[in-house]
Amino acid sequence: MNIKENYRYTKDHEWLNVVGEEAFIGVSDHAQGELGDIVFIEVPTVGEELEKGESFGTIEAVKTVADIFMPVSGEVIEFNDDLEANPELVNQDPYEKGWIIKIKLSNPDEVNELMDAAAYEAFAAH
């Protein structure tokens, strides 16, 4: 299982990478492996202010569909357009090219409530 060292993680297997007042959000390598071949990602929430834990979109794999949730509260400011033509980027490179949304943090303190890489590794191993 591939885990990115300086990212934060949720129990729903999203990751968060904070860059200043903004953050990128995607799903972990473990999550993409469980979902299988990803064929469609829908994010209808760009421009919306969402609470921690709210669904910001859905990932469709060939056989399953999964909601993706906000690891922290914030405004969805960008969807990764590359995923429209190439949703498989989430399978191939979940932590870099496969990022899903960029948000503006509304409560940066919430970041500390998320798991760090070591804690997530232990969590995902179960």
């Binding site: 071949d37 064929v39 469609f40 060939v62 056989k63």
Partner: protein
């Protein structure tokens, strides 16, 4: 939870194991899309040992099969297989199945794993004529070797000619050194190939020989997920999704396996004949998404005015057709090719159109 004789092979090949119909089965190996393509273009191997097998023997064998199944088993010759279903006496379907004719007094019924107990009870309850029924589901292992290169690859394991076998026929032959293997040119993928039945004790030997013989053809193990996308691209019904105890064979477009000849009396004959003559109010159709979206089992089908008109019974992104495809029951007036229907996906009504099967035309 039961395991088939191939369980250790699946684990060794890296299969992701899930519970299915009471068995621990591999849902995928390298990934559903890659596995799907392997079967469409080359050759892939499925463990289908969880399927059930009943022997029907004795002088009343044909009379029993004619009564419990919808198709005309009197048309079978020795070595011929027929797709059929068990009507349930209330206009629904107990199960769909394959009927193999070994000889005039010996037939094999192959039924769905999830329905073995239900089918066995049903068959016994309908056996007033006294055919000899035996449930051998736990004794038989079965591999489906599917794809355009399957027969060529399997020919290496037997001296009996199999590459020229007609679709839906079978032979008993010596295969991979194992005697009396039932070799059948059947399958549920639409890509050709065969199904191989052997006893559990020979399963491991047969599996290893199949994988070895297939190396030069790029043979790979295939999981249940690709089995489902392959059958759905062909528009083949899955029991429990597209057909069940509440759907009739006529509604499900299975009129072609429902035979109303004078010589054959069977369960629900009158009721189904009436449906065939007078029409049914709903029909199972296939549809392709026009708007971007993927239909899933259980999603609502609505009309242009957002009225509920049905439910999606099966749906997926078709790995070969690269579009959202599905099946579902709609009012007969909307069942014609080209009819526009809408699929409710996350509260949005997305446009789809009714198409003819199969979705995948090879």
């Amino acid at each position: 939870m039961k395991r088939t004789a191939f369980y250790n092979d699946h684990v060794a090949m890296g299969g992701k194991i899930v519970p299915f119909a009471g068995y621990e089965m591999p849902v995928q190996f390298e990934g559903v899309s890659a596995e799907h393509e392997t079967v469409r273009k080359g050759v892939g191997v499925f463990d289908v040992s969880h399927m059930g097998e009943f022997w029907v023997k004795g002088p009343k064998a044909l009379e029993f099969i004619q009564w419990v199944t919808s198709n005309d088993a009197s048309k079978l010759f020795n070595g011929k297989v027929q797709y059929s279903c068990f009507p349930n006496g209330k206009g629904g379907i107990v199960d769909d199945l394959l009927v193999y004719k070994i000889n005039d007094e010996t037939y094999l019924l192959v039924v769905n794993a999830a329905n073995i107990d239900k089918d066995w009870e049903w068959c016994n309850s309908q056996n007033k004529m006294g055919a000899e029924l035996t449930n051998v589901s736990d004794d038989i292992s079965q591999l489906a070797v599917q794809g355009p290169l399957a027969l060529q690859a399997m020919q290496k394991l037997t001296d009996t000619k199999v590459t020229d076998m007609e679709y839906y026929t079978f032979k008993y032959l010596t295969f991979a050194g194992v005697e009396d293997v039932l070799f059948s040119t059947t399958g549920y993928t639409g890509s050709g190939g065969c199904e191989i039945y052997c006893s559990n004790k020979d399963a491991d030997k047969v599996y290893k020989a199949v994988m070895e013989a297939g190396i030069e053809y790029g043979i790979k193990p295939i999981g249940l997920a690709a089995r489902d996308t392959l059958r759905l691209e062909m528009g083949f019904c899955l029991y429990g999704n597209d057909i069940d105890d509440t759907t009739s064979a006529i509604e499900a477009n299975l009129g072609w396996i429902t035979k109303f000849t004078d010589e054959k009396n069977f369960i629900d004959k009158e009721l189904l004949l009436n449906q065939k003559k007078n029409g049914v109010s709903r029909k199972l159709v296939g549809f392709e998404m026009i708007d971007k979206g993927i239909p899933r089992h259980g999603y609502e089908i609505v009309d242009a005015e957002n009225n509920n008109i049905g439910i999606v019974t099966s749906g997926t992104m078709g790995p070969a057709v690269k579009i959202g495809i599905g099946m579902g029951y709609v009012p007969s007036a909307l069942s014609k090719e080209g009819s526009e229907v809408y699929i409710k996906i996350r509260d949005k009504a997305l446009k789809a159109k009714v198409v003819k099967f199969p979705f995948y035309k090879g």
